[in-house]
């Protein structure tokens, strides 16, 4: 699975406001790419354009090209619903469906899309996804309890299980560990290391150590000032960005010498 994403000259607008300017980047298949940068520089905005989730926000629009293994996500006739079945997303705040049990939450992508599947296959899929999200041991005895009965960290892993049960090619994660304790964070980081065997992973994080620990490639975004659009300053192998970045601003940001 795991597909490669190529972005060329991407601009994102909220109405008249340009939030992201001229981003070009290649995200390699079966790797972890981390987006870092100060608050408001457009990381979430850019991430959402990778599976057309920005279209949910009224007034948001995109110029430019995003190729998924050569196929333009913004080409004519492309259905955003289909795009999102191939490119999953995990949000900053865990958002399990409150009306569904743990198992139903994992299978939500199947059930909500009215996809038919024998019960035993569903059970297997739920187990695989929960194991993949490192949650199986904790919930295997209470699969029919409500998803909202889990702790915050467990809920986040439930959301990851829900995303990988769709077997997407790419998994986008927007600060997936920002609301979690160090142990849950570690569990999710381990998870990313396992998931990248199969999936292409893009993660937004404010935690430098996390970016250094989990990512193969790091991309640094920045803004010139309030009201200015966010830009991609540089991207490259994580070791290089963290030890010898090309741009001074990157070094300042990573080392914490940044306003």
């Amino acid at each position: 699975m795991g597909k490669r994403i190529e972005v060329t000259d991407l601009n994102v607008y909220y109405g008249d406001f340009r939030a992201v300017e001229d981003v070009s980047i290649t995200i390699e298949a079966k790797s972890v790419t981390a987006f870092i940068g100060p608050s408001g520089c457009g990381k979430s905005t850019f991430l959402r354009t990778l599976n057309r989730m920005h279209e949910v926000i009224p007034g948001a629009r995109v110029e430019g090209e995003v190729l998924l293994d050569g196929e333009n996500l913004y080409g004519p006739g492309v259905d955003p619903v289909r795009v999102r079945r191939h490119i999953g997303m995990v949000f900053q705040r865990p958002n399990p469906f409150p009306t569904m049990s743990i198992k139903e939450n994992v299978l939500a992508g199947i059930n909500l899309n009215n996809r038919r599947m024998p019960g035993s296959e569903k059970d297997d899929l739920a187990e695989q996804a929960l194991k993949g999200a490192n949650l199986w041991e904790e919930v295997k005895n209470r699969l029919n309890k409500p998803g909202a009965s889990l702790s915050g960290g467990q809920q986040q892993r439930l959301c990851i299980a829900r995303a990988i049960a769709m077997e997407p090619e790419v998994l986008l994660m927007d600060e997936p560990a920002s609301a979690l304790d160090p142990i849950s964070t570690l569990a999710i980081e381990d998870l990313m290391n396992e998931l990248k065997q199969q999936y292409t992973i893009v993660i937004v994080t404010h935690n430098m150590q996390q970016a250094a620990r989990v990512s193969d490639v790091t991309a640094f975004f920045n803004i010139a000032g309030a009201g200015a659009p966010g830009r991609l300053i540089e991207s490259g192998p994580t070791e290089k960005i963290f030890s010898a970045p090309d741009v001074k601003a990157t070094e300042d940001y990573i080392s914490g010498r940044f306003g």
């Binding site: 599976n51 289909r82 191939h86 999953g88 909500l112 409500p146 909202a148």
Partner: protein, 354 residues
């Protein structure tokens, strides 16, 4: 008063506190005083006594709290007393209505009442079976018409409208509809049916249409509010799983809000089930059982109550008893609806906790 002055501790963090017995004691004193004044000047008028007692109590609490506890606590006690006063005042009519209906309606709240219609009954006996079934038919049909229309309108307003012109216009007209007098709704339904099938003496379905006119705006407003309360994160979670918008709405948004929507619908039903004027006009009235919504007049409970009261026969008391029993039945139905609503809401409520 010695205990009060002892409890005044002039520390920085402590403040005087009125002993627990003071408020009930003041209340009792005020009640006695109010009664005494009312006996002297008002000939023992109870309403006057209560009003006087309340005012005396307010002043007494204010003064004693101000002396012992300070201005902030006095304000707290003043607000508490006024809120409790308002609550009691609001509860009085409810209690009085329930009591009246129970005591006067019990006389004819018997088996005959629920098994007989008024066909060929002139004196004693007879019942409201025709009115009860009529009310159930008419309001049931009205619910059947209003819920789909109201819910779909609410879905449009909250999920698709995004404050565009059409949505604003709909919101405006729904608000206007909320204020339509019920008799106008009845005349509208009657006129509409006359246009369609020609002159008639009213029938059940016309009554349902009249009630729908009153019900739809209530359903729209309450459902819209509840749909808006569904967190956007849940919609995004569904979209991110590649779920199309209409499935997101029908399988995620509406189920999350369903318990509130059901409560809203039941409140709307309770609100229209007691309507008299529109049904008098649109559904007509009859003494016989009629289970066909589309032909011949259909009796309903409010109309039955009105008719028994306004057009009694020779033995007036018999008719009045029937009217009270009808009113009691109506109250019982509304209470039952509320109960069912609660059960349904609990059944559908989003599951949280263990």
């Amino acid at each position: 008063m010695t205990t009060i002055s002892q409890s005044m501790a002039p520390g920085q963090l402590t403040a005087g506190r009125l002993p627990k017995v003071v408020v009930p004691a003041l209340l009792a004193g005020a009640a006695l005083l109010g009664l005494a004044i009312s006996l002297l000047v008002g000939g023992g008028n109870l309403a006057l006594a209560a009003a006087l007692a309340y005012i005396i109590f307010l002043i007494a609490v204010e003064v004693s709290a101000r002396i012992v506890e300070g201005a902030r606590q006095a304000a707290d006690r003043r607000a508490t007393s006024m809120i409790v006063g308002a609550f009691v005042l609001a509860l009085l009519p409810l209690g009085s209505v329930t009591w009246e209906a129970l005591s006067k309606g019990a006389a004819r709240f018997d088996l005959t009442f629920f098994t007989y219609s008024m066909r060929n009954v002139v004196g004693e006996g007879g019942g409201a079976l025709h009115a009860i079934t009529g009310t159930l038919w008419v309001t049931g049909m009205a619910t059947l018409i209003s819920v789909p229309i109201g819910l779909m309108t609410a879905v449009y307003l909250s999920e698709y409208g995004a404050k565009n012109r059409l949505a604003k216009a709909i919101t405006f007209f729904v608000d206007v509809m909320t204020g339509v007098p019920s008799i106008v709704a009845g005349l509208f339904a009657y006129a509409l049916m006359t246009l369609i099938i020609g002159p008639n003496t009213g029938f059940g379905f016309a009554g349902s249409v009249a009630l729908s006119v009153l019900m739809i705006p209530v359903v729209v407003r309450s459902s819209e509010e509840l749909l808006r309360l569904v967190p956007n994160e849940l919609r995004e979670a569904a979209y991110a799983l590649g779920v199309p918008k209409w499935l997101t709405i029908t399988r995620v948004v509406i189920p999350t809000a369903i318990s509130g929507i059901v409560s809203g619908v039941i409140l709307a039903v309770a609100r229209v089930i007691g309507e008299t004027a529109p049904l008098l006009v649109a559904a007509g009235f009859t003494a016989s059982l009629n289970n066909n919504l589309f032909a011949n007049p259909m009796m309903t409970l409010p109309v039955f109550v009105y008719d028994s009261y306004a057009h009694p026969g020779v033995d007036v008391q018999v008719y009045l008893d029937r009217a009270w029993a009808g009113a009691l039945t109506l109250i019982a139905i509304v209470m039952l609806l509320n109960l069912i609503g609660r059960l349904v809401a609990r059944r559908f409520a989003p599951k949280t906790g263990n």
